[in-house]
C-alpha cells in the first residue's frame, strides 16, 4: 500500500509540475517577463526540519486532544493485534498436548479463537476511527494553511510576484499544500503505525522467548542495509524518469506550439531525432527504476521466509536439546518474525515522504511569511483627490543596487494630461508604476494633492487611481463580470453605460451571447484591442480620480485603435492623467510631455516647445512620425 501511495504522490507532483510548466493559458509562459520560467524543485530537502515541524504541529493545537486520542488508541489497537501471536503461542502450550491429542479440550480453544477475533475486530474499529479523525483534522489544518497562504498572496506586494514567478507561486499553493496534506493525513499515521508495530513486535517477541528473539534480531541489520540501498536506487530511478519525462514534454510543447516554424523551416527531422534520444533516456531510466523496485519484493519475501525457517530450525534444535523453548513459543515467535520486515521497508519510504511533506510545508510557510504590503500602510484616509500630482526628486530601483529612475521631478495640475515618451527600456513604465505604490521609491517624494502618498492608505489610494495597461488582463468569467470587476456595487445599467462610454458596447452586443459571453483564461478569445476596450470600460465603472494609461504600440487595427483613442479621451476628461504615449495625437494634445531616457527626465515641455528646442524629442519625432 505504502509503495503505491508514494508513487501516486510523485506522479501527482509531476503532473502539477508539468501543468505549471506547459500551461499554454498562462501568459507568463509565452509572453513578457525577462526571466526563465520557474520550475519548482522536485524532492527538495527541507532546510530546517525542527522549526517547520513544530510550526506544523502548532496548527494542530486546536485538535491536540483529538490527536492525542488518535495516537493512544492507535497504540492500543496495534498492541491488540500484535498480542494475537502471544495468545496463540500460549494456547498451543496450554491446551495442546503433543503426545496425546485425545486429552484435548475444545472449549478452551474456542474461547481463544473468539478472543482473537474480538481483538482483531477492536483493532480494525479503532484503526477506522483514528484514520477517519486524522483525515478530518488534517483536511481542516490544510484548508487553514492554504487559505492563510492565499490571503498572504493577495496582500503581498507586486514585487513578490515579480521575484517568485507564477510557476513557483502556483506550485506552492497546489503542489506543496498537497504534500502537507498527504503527510498529515497518511504519512504521519503510517509512520506511527509502522513504528509501533516494530517496537511492539520486538518487545512482545522477547517477552515470549528471548532466545528465539535473538535469532530474528540477527537478520535485522541486513534488512535495513539492503532496504535503504535499494530504495535509494529506486528513488533515483524514478526521479530520473520524471526529469526525462519533463524534458520530453518540453520538446513536444515546443514543436507543437512552434509548429508553423518547424514546418516552414523543414525542422521535422532534427526534432524527431532529438525526441528519440530523449525518449530513449526515458525508457532506460524507467527500466532501471522498475529493475530496482523489482528487487525489493523478492528480497522481502525471501527474507521473510528465511527468518521464518531460521526461527523454526533454531526452535527445533533448542526444543530438542534445551528447555529454553516450547512448541507454542516457536509458533508465536515465527509469527512475530514476519512482522518486522514490512515496517522496516515501509519506514524507509515513509521517511522520504515525510521529508517531502516537511519541505513542502517549509515552502508554504515561506509564502505565509512573505511581506504584507499593508503592514507599513499609511494612515491617512481620503475621500477624493483633486488631482495635483508631483514627483520630487524620485529615485527608484527594483533592487537596491540598480537604479532604474534617477531624480525625476515633475508636476501635474488638476485635470492635466502628461505624456511620457522615450525609447523602450528607458523607464517610462516604471515611472507610472510608482504612483499607486506597486513599488515604493528609494528616495524623493511623490505627492498627490500635496500629501505624500506613503502617508495615505494604500487601498484608498489605489481605488482612486485608474490603470489601463497595454497588455490587459481579463479574468475567467463573462464579459459582464469583467467590467463589473471595476465596481461590485454597480448595477447592470451602470455596467452597460460604462461599456458604451468605452466604445465596447457595440462589439459586445455582436458577440454570440452578448455580455454573457465567456472570457477564457487570460482573455485569449478577444483581440488585444477588444481586451483594452473592456478594460477601459472597467476603469470607467470604477470612476477613479486619477488615471494611468499605457497606449498600445501595435497589433491593433486602425479602426479599433480609433475607438480606443476616443474612449481614452473620454476617460481622461477632467481627470489628471499620466499617459505613456505612442500616438502623435495624444502627445500633441498633452499639456506636458516628459521625455525619459536611461532613467532620467531629459526634457519636458509641450510639443511646440520641445520641437523648437531641437533636442532629443525633436530627433525622436523626426524619426517616428516623418518619412
Amino acid at each position: 500500500m505504502v509503495s503505491n501511495n508514494k508513487e501516486i504522490l510523485s506522479k501527482k507532483a509531476l503532473n502539477e509540475r508539468l501543468k505549471a510548466e506547459i500551461d499554454p493559458t498562462d501568459p507568463k509562459n509565452f509572453k513578457g517577463g525577462m526571466r526563465r520560467r520557474d520550475t519548482p524543485p522536485v524532492g527538495a530537502k527541507p532546510k530546517n526540519i525542527r522549526e517547520t515541524l513544530f510550526r506544523l504541529l502548532s496548527y494542530m493545537g486546536v485538535y491536540k486532544y483529538a490527536v492525542l486520542m488518535v495516537f493512544l488508541s492507535l497504540i492500543a489497537a496495534t498492541f491488540a493485534t500484535l498480542y494475537i501471536p502471544t495468545l496463540f503461542a500460549n494456547s498451543i502450550d496450554r491446551y495442546i498436548d503433543l503426545d496425546d491429542f485425545s486429552r484435548f479440550d475444545p472449549t478452551n480453544l474456542y474461547r481463544i479463537v473468539i478472543i482473537m477475533a474480538v481483538l482483531a475486530g477492536i483493532g480494525s474499529i479503532i484503526r477506522f476511527f483514528s484514520r477517519f479523525i486524522m483525515v478530518r483534522i488534517s483536511q481542516n489544518v490544510v484548508k487553514k494553511i492554504r487559505e492563510e497562504a492565499y490571503d498572504k498572496l493577495m496582500k503581498a506586494p507586486v514585487d513578490y510576484y515579480d521575484k517568485q514567478g507564477s510557476g513557483d507561486i502556483v506550485s506552492r499553493l497546489s503542489n506543496d499544500v498537497e504534500l502537507i496534506s498527504n503527510s498529515l493525513g497518511q504519512t504521519v499515521l503510517e509512520v506511527l503505525n509502522s513504528s509501533i508495530v516494530l517496537l511492539g513486535a520486538f518487545v512482545l517477541m522477547f517477552l515470549l522467548n528471548w532466545a528465539l528473539g535473538l535469532v530474528v534480531i540477527a537478520f535485522i541489520p541486513i534488512m535495513i542495509l539492503f532496504t535503504i540501498k535499494i530504495s535509494k536506487k529506486t528513488r533515483k530511478g524514478f526521479k530520473e524518469q520524471q526529469v526525462h519525462l519533463a524534458s520530453l514534454n518540453g520538446i513536444i510543447e515546443e514543436s507543437v506550439s512552434g509548429l508553423k516554424t518547424v514546418k516552414l523551416y523543414n525542422q521535422e527531422k532534427p526534432f524527431t531525432d532529438e525526441f528519440e534520444i530523449e525518449n530513449d533516456k526515458l525508457k532506460k531510466a524507467g527500466f532501471m527504476a522498475q529493475f530496482y523496485s523489482g528487487l525489493i519484493w523478492p528480497f522481502i519475501h525471501f527474507m521473510n521466509n528465511l527468518i521464518f525457517l531460521s526461527v523454526i530450525a533454531a526452535g527445533a534444535v533448542l526444543y530438542l536439546f534445551t528447555p529454553l523453548v516450547t512448541i507454542g513459543q516457536i509458533a508465536g515467535v515465527s509469527q512475530y518474525s514476519r512482522q518486522f520486515i514490512m515496517p522496516i521497508s515501509n519506514l524507509a519510504q515513509l521517511f522520504n515522504a515525510l521529508m517531502q511533506g516537511i519541505a513542502g510545508a517549509e515552502r508554504v510557510f515561506e509564502l505565509i511569511d512573505a511581506e504584507d504590503e499593508y503592514e507599513n500602510d499609511g494612515e491617512l484616509a481620503i475621500d477624493q483627490f483633486d488631482g495635483d500630482i508631483s514627483f520630487e526628486n524620485v529615485t527608484f530601483g527594483y533592487t537596491e543596487d540598480v537604479v532604474v529612475l534617477k531624480d525625476i521631478s515633475f508636476f501635474a495640475k488638476k485635470g492635466e494630461v502628461i505624456a511620457i515618451v522615450g525609447p523602450t527600456g528607458g523607464g517610462k513604465t516604471t515611472t507610472i508604476k510608482l504612483l499607486n505604490r506597486f513599488y515604493d521609491i528609494n528616495a524623493g517624494e511623490i505627492k498627490i494633492d500635496d500629501k505624500n502618498i506613503n502617508t495615505l492608505q494604500k487601498d484608498e489610494l489605489r481605488r482612486r487611481i485608474g490603470v489601463v495597461l497595454q497588455d490587459t488582463h481579463l479574468f475567467k468569467g463573462t464579459v459582464y463580470d469583467n467590467i463589473h470587476y471595476g465596481d461590485f456595487t454597480a448595477d447592470k445599467e451602470a455596467v452597460i453605460e460604462a461599456a458604451k462610454m468605452a466604445n465596447a458596447h457595440d462589439f459586445i452586443i455582436k458577440l454570440p451571447k452578448g455580455y454573457e459571453t465567456e472570457v477564457y483564461e487570460g482573455g485569449q478569445n478577444f483581440s488585444q484591442g477588444e481586451r483594452q476596450l473592456i478594460s477601459i470600460a472597467r476603469t470607467i465603472l470604477n470612476n477613479p480620480d486619477l488615471l494611468i494609461l499605457d497606449e498600445a504600440t501595435s497589433n491593433i487595427d486602425t479602426r479599433t485603435e480609433a475607438k480606443i483613442q476616443e474612449s481614452m479621451r473620454r476617460l481622461m476628461k477632467d481627470r489628471t492623467s499620466i499617459v505613456i504615449a505612442h500616438r502623435l495625437q495624444t502627445i500633441r494634445e498633452a499639456n506636458k510631455i516628459l521625455v525619459i531616457d536611461h532613467g532620467k527626465l531629459i526634457e519636458s515641455g509641450d510639443h511646440e516647445e520641445l520641437l523648437n528646442a531641437k533636442g532629443f524629442y525633436y530627433g525622436l519625432y523626426k524619426a517616428q512620425f516623418e518619412q
Binding site: D26, K28, G250, I252, E254, H301, L309, Y485, E521, E626
Partner: protein, 597 residues
Amino acid sequence: MKRLKQFYQWMKGFIHLYIFGFALLIMAQYLTTLTPLFIQHIVDSIFGDAPSALPNLIQGLLIGETTQRILLMVALVSVGFTLIRLTIVFFQRVVIAHFSENVAYSMRNTLYAHLQDLSFSYHSTAETGDLIQRSTTDVDTFRRFIGEQFIDVVRLFFLMSFAVFQMFLMNVTMTFISLIMTPIIFVSASVYFVKVRKIFERVEKAEGKMTNAVQENVSGSRVVKAFQNERYEMDKFDETSQVFRDENMLLSKLMAFFWSGTDFMIFLQYTLTASFGIYFTIMGNMAPGQFIAFLSLLGMIVWPLRQLGRIIGDFGKTSVALDRIDEVMAEGSEHVDDSTFTPEIKGHITFNNVGFQFDDDVSPLLKNINFDVKPGETLAVIGKTGSGKSTLMSLLVRLLETTHGGITIDGHDIRSINKKHLRKNIGIILQEPFLFSKTVYENIGIMKKGANKESVEHAASIAKVHDDILGFEAGYKTIVGERGVTLSGGQKQRVAIARMLLENKPVLVFDDSLSAVDTETDIQIRRALMHHWQNTTVFIITHRITTAMEADKIIVLEDGEIKAFGNHATLLEEDGLYASLYNQQTNVASTLRKEGQ
C-alpha cells in the same frame, strides 16, 4: 474484441516478451501456493500419518534415514524452492519492465513523428496541452496498465486459482467454507471502486478549480490590486477551498469505511475458517497440518480480492487513454501521397482564382484572388486584421491547401511540387516568430547547421539585432525561447530576419514581420534587405502604409477579396480604401510637417 485488437496493436513486435513474462508469472504463482504445503508435510506426514499434499515429485526429494535428516531435507528443499520462485519473480519483473518500457517508447516515437506530420489545419484547432498529454500521460497510463495493472490481474487470478486448487486437493467441504465470504468481498470492492472513481473526479475538478483561481490571480495580480479586490478574491478562494475540503472528506470517509469494512469481512472469514478447521481437526476429518495450510492459502485468496476491484476500474481509464491516442493516429499525415517533384524555383508566382474556406466555416476566407509576380518583383498585400492576408501566405507554402483555383510557381502547379521542397525555397518571416529553446546562435543558424560565426554575426548585424544580442549576459550563447530568456517582439522579429539572411531563397515573405520594430529601425532594415535580396521575389504583408508604398505592386485586401490592385501612385488616385488608410496613417504627420515649415 475490438478492444483486444486495439490493445494488441501497440504491443506488436514485443508480444513474445509479454508471453514469456506471463509464463514466468504463472510458474511463480504455482510455486507460491506450494509454500504452505511444506509445513503441512512436516506436521501431517512426518510427525503424523496423514498423506502429504505436496506433489509426488517433491515428496521424492524429502527422504532420509532419520527424522532429523528428513526435516533438514524439507528445510533445504523449501528454501531452494523459495529461491527459485523469487528468482523467477525477479526475472518476470525484468522481462515485463523491458516489455512495457519498449512498448511505451515506440508508442511515443510513433506518436511524436505523427504529430510532426499532421497538417497545419489540424494543429490550428488542436490544443498544445492536450496533445502533450496524449503523447506522454496517456501513453504512460497504457504502460502502467500493461506493465502493472494487467499483470496484477493475471497474477492474482492464477494465485487464487492455484490456492483454490490446492485447497480442493486437501478438503472439498473446507474449501467451500473458506470461500463463503469471497463473493461479497469482491462485489463490494468492485462497487466501491466505481463509486470512488466518481468522487475522485469531483475532487480533482475541485482541485483544478482551486489551482486555476491561484494561477489566474497570480497573472492578474496587478489588476486585483489596482481595483482593490483582494478581499473579494480571498472570499472566492475560500469558497473553492471549502468545496475541495468537503469533497476530500467524503472521499476519505468512503475510504475509511471500505478498508475497515473489508478488513472486518476478511477477519470474519478467517474466524469462520479457523472455527470450522478446529472442529474438523478435532472430529478427525482433517489433519492438523492441513488446517495450518488452509489458513495460509486463505490469505492468498482474500487479501488480493480487494485489489481486483480496483484494477477493473483502471481498465476503463486505460481504454479512454488508448482511444485518445488512436484519435490522433487516425488523422492523416500531410506527407502521405506527396509528390516527389523538386524543380529549381526561380520565383514567378501566379494566383489563379484562388479561394479558401475552412471545412467548418460558413463563408470563405479568401475568394477570387488573382495576381502575378515575376522574379525579383516586390508585392505588398495590405489590409486590416482578419482580411485574409496571412491565409494567403499559408496557401503559398501549402500549410493550407486552396479549396478553389490554383497557384503556380514558374508554371508548375504547387500541388505537383514536393511540400518540403516548396517550403525550403520559400522563406517566410512570421509576425510572431517562434524561437526554440536553444541559443540565439543556434536559432539564427537553424536552417544551416554549422554556419560559421562570421556569417551568423553578419546576418545579425544586417537585421540590426547584433547589438541587442551582445547586450545579453551570455551573448550569442544566451538560451532563448519558451524555456529561456524571453525576447521582446521586436527582437524576435529581427532574429527571424537574421535567420533568413543565412540562406538564399528565391521567394521571401514578410508576414508583418517588422510590426514590433520601431519605424526608424524598420526603414533601416528594409533598406539593407532590399539591397541584399535584389533578385528575390518578395511578398510584404502589412497594415503599415509606409511599409507597403515602396513595393512594385500593391494589393488591397478586404474581407478576403482583392479590393484594389496597382502601385502607390495609381492606388492613391483611385481614392478608395488605400487612400483612406493612407490619409489616416499619415495626415497627422504631413500637416505637422507643413506646420513645422
